[in-house]
């Protein structure tokens, strides 16, 4: 493992296609990332097939709708989409706002009132009989069902994961 392949927090490294090319033991492969979106949310591999996936720092995955040589030392490459540290991978607010309209499962549709509380960052009791864990919260606006962000569903409660800077009183 040469030095320039290790993470220094500034360099983007393309996710390997071959598990043997991982640069640290819990680095995901490209396939694992594509499978995760499919299995968790039903967002098909085809939809994300044109993206390249990159890691900047351990466990922070970015999706880039272009390509270049790896590694590359830049400030940003596409969009930060996923945290893969720990047992439960967590999508970002921006990723579910961008890709979430394709989701077919683990999507919870909120009323306008619930949506207001959700984007204000509040936790709330919402009935849900599906899986626990990270869900995509949506609501209806101008005839569309539009993703709001990520909620963590546990013990009958939907915990808003909207980052502080994105919260709004609407």
């Amino acid at each position: 493992m040469s030095d320039d392949r290790e993470h220094d927090g500034q360099t983007f490294v393309r996710l390997p296609t071959d598990p043997d090319d991982r640069i640290h033991e819990d680095q995901p492969t490209r396939d694992e990332v594509l499978d995760w979106w499919d299995e968790r949310f039903g967002i098909g591999r085809d939809y994300l097939a044109d993206y390249t996936f990159w890691e900047k720092g351990r466990g922070k995955v970015w999706a880039f709708h272009a390509d270049t040589e790896s590694p590359v030392r830049v400030e940003g490459l596409g969009m930060s989409v996923l945290r893969t540290r720990g047992d439960h991978w967590k999508p970002t607010t921006n990723a579910v706002q961008r890709f979430g309209h394709r989701a077919e499962r683990n999507v919870i549709d909120l009323t306008r009132e619930q949506a207001e509380a959700f984007v204000a960052g509040e936790d709330q009791e919402v009935p849900w009989d599906g899986d626990w864990g990270y869900l995509i919260a949506t609501h209806d606006i101008a005839g569309e069902t539009e993703p709001l962000g990520v909620g963590l569903y546990l013990h009958g409660e939907l915990r808003s994961q909207i980052p502080k800077g994105r919260r709004r009183d609407l």
Binding site: H65, T68, V74, G78, Q97, I141, A142, E144, R166
Partner: protein, 301 residues
């Protein structure tokens, strides 16, 4: 405001110009077509009781009767607050999906995100700026608007390196340089308080360096759009004149469905190449906007 008197010889209706500069600017949003369509965004705004008046020359631009930030469509990244004239340069460059494009002075990303939308968020879009704080604003705008094809680097655009980008030339570049910002007087009434000719001349040196680098990094036949939000010919036609002499490029005509006048070929004893008339000056009284300058170059070597 006295600073602006130096432009009286250039401007037909100077009284109307001055009067427009004293009025506040309308609040305008651009619809982000990466995430929605103009009609959907308009319906969502109107459902919240916000008054929407489309800007006739561009399908995805609305004047609002309120500030843009606090409503549902904004939260979803359907809208970006952007001054009307600031929308011009990306429409003039008009990149295609899949192109390789460089946005040289990109932060906070109003035009970067517009370029991405024009590219259908596909193909390499490299956005550089030399100011880290502004780069962080660029990144959060890009992410809120759902842009996934942009690569962001901190660099002095005069020394931009193609190395991280497979060392291949670009198809197009946008050069929206730092400038003396005289044309933003309606938004920032104190913008001229610090005005000096030394500053204008100093920044013109930077502008020349950045535009030259852009011409060097774009392939033959590709286009470079140069823009400023200022009136000073030192930062506009004089920069073009310099780069026309120093690099392989020429100015080309383009359509602009807003009222404007051609670039000027003489100012305060200096004369500029005749072809700078192909550039366009937009004065605040023309379309009730900020002031702007825009030129389109084709790379010839």
């Amino acid at each position: 405001m006295e600073v602006l008197d130096r432009y009286e010889p250039l401007i037909d209706d100077f009284e109307a110009f001055r009067a427009a500069c004293e009025r506040p600017l309308p609040s305008v949003v651009r619809v982000n077509t990466i995430k929605t369509e103009p009609e959907t965004a308009r319906a969502a705004l109107e459902a919240e009781g916000i008054g929407v008046e489309p800007c006739g020359w561009h399908a995805g631009l609305f004047r609002l009767d309120t500030q843009p930030g606090a409503n549902w469509p904004y939260y979803h990244g359907w809208l970006h607050g952007q001054e009307e004239v600031s929308v011009v340069p990306a429409t003039v460059l008009d990149p295609d999906p899949g192109d390789r494009v460089w946005d040289a002075c990109a932060a906070p990303g109003s035009k970067t995100t517009q370029l991405s939308a024009l590219m259908d968020d596909r193909g390499l879009l490299v956005a550089t700026d030399n100011n880290l704080g502004r780069i962080s604003a660029l990144r959060s705008n890009a992410e809120r608007l759902g842009v996934t094809n942009v690569a962001v680097t901190r660099e002095d655009a005069r020394n931009h390196s193609l190395k991280p980008w497979e060392a291949k030339a670009y198809d197009a570049a946008l050069v929206d340089v730092p400038c003396s910002c005289e044309g933003t007087i309606r938004k920032n009434p104190d913008t001229l308080d610090e005005w000096t000719l030394e500053h204008v001349e100093g920044i013109a040196g930077t502008q020349k360096g950045i535009l030259r680098r852009a011409v060097q990094t774009v392939r033959e036949g590709g286009h470079v759009v140069y823009s400023t939000c200022t009136f000073a010919p030192e930062e506009n036609e004089a920069v073009l004149d310099h780069v026309l002499g120093a690099e392989d490029c020429r100015l080309v005509e383009f359509d602009l469905p807003l009222d404007h006048v051609p670039g000027v070929t003489a100012f305060e004893g200096e004369t500029f190449d005749e072809s700078v008339r192909k550039a366009k000056r937009i004065y605040p009284h023309h379309n009730d906007t900020g002031g702007f300058f825009c030129a389109k170059l084709e790379v010839t070597g």
